[in-house]
Subunit: 156 residues, 2 copies
């Protein structure tokens, strides 16, 4: 039920490559590099920060370059968008599943920017029930929880 989310950035890249092969989609050098950069940044990366870093080694990079790569990675469920911050974070799951795609929760430290991802079925269940009470169906959930992480809390 819980996957462990302890994979290193390198491991995530290997897993992503493997996964793309299985799905028959192309993990091109640009996509790979973008995924590496996002994976290396625990707090998530803004698109133009990403562009800056990518530019240093890939001079022809432009906004569409990074947005296209991010769109691809999001479609594969390898990267998620943090809506409340216009930022992008790598999915830490070693084995992203389809049901996970629209059903994860992010926990964000407002002090240090750490982001942790959860995918708790109870949350999805509660949300489904909630919307059902109003006659809605649930297709996608955005859940972003902002607070203080243990480290920052004890520092304060």
């Amino acid at each position: 039920m819980h996957c462990d989310h302890t994979a290193s950035a390198e491991q995530l890249v290997d897993i992503a490559e493997q996964r793309c092969r299985e799905l028959g989609v192309r993990f091109t050098p640009i996509r790979r590099r973008v995924f590496e950069l996002v994976s290396d940044t625990p707090g998530g990366l803004k698109a133009y920060e990403l562009l800056d870093r990518l530019s240093t080694e890939h001079a022809s990079a432009r906004p569409p370059t990074v947005y296209r790569a991010l769109d691809f990675l999001m479609e594969q469920g390898l990267v998620h968008r943090i809506e409340s911050q216009n930022a992008f974070v790598a999915c830490p799951c070693p084995e992203p599943r389809p049901d996970h795609h629209g059903g994860f929760q992010l926990m964000i430290c407002r002090a240090c920017g750490r982001v942790e991802e959860m995918h708790r079925l109870e949350v999805t269940a509660l949300m489904s029930q909630l919307v059902a009470e109003h006659g809605y169906t649930l297709e996608r959930q955005t859940v972003e929880l902002v607070g203080l992480c243990p480290d920052c809390r004890s520092a304060a």
Copy 2:
């Protein structure tokens, strides 16, 4: 526990005015008009749409004009931001409370754009528990649920 959310736009404006008086903050003509425009739009309004509408009657309106008004209204809890859409929606609560401020959930129809607001304590409780298990504190939650409303579902 549940407030009814059936107030008309006019009623919401009156309530907001009353509320600002109580709090000792100024419900200026610009702020009032922005709140009216947002309240009149059930699916929420984008900032520049709002600017367009405001401009027709208030020629000197500029982006800062509307963002300042929106910031004020959000501080008072009269308007919420829909993070996943860069849009703003009026809080339908006749009596917004402080605990409500960071603890509401939005249900959004992807077909017609309707937005309904809920503030269910069970959700906040579950989120608090969830983050507590990871040692975090919870200060603010963004919960946006996208799906089909009853009308759009039966139409499909």
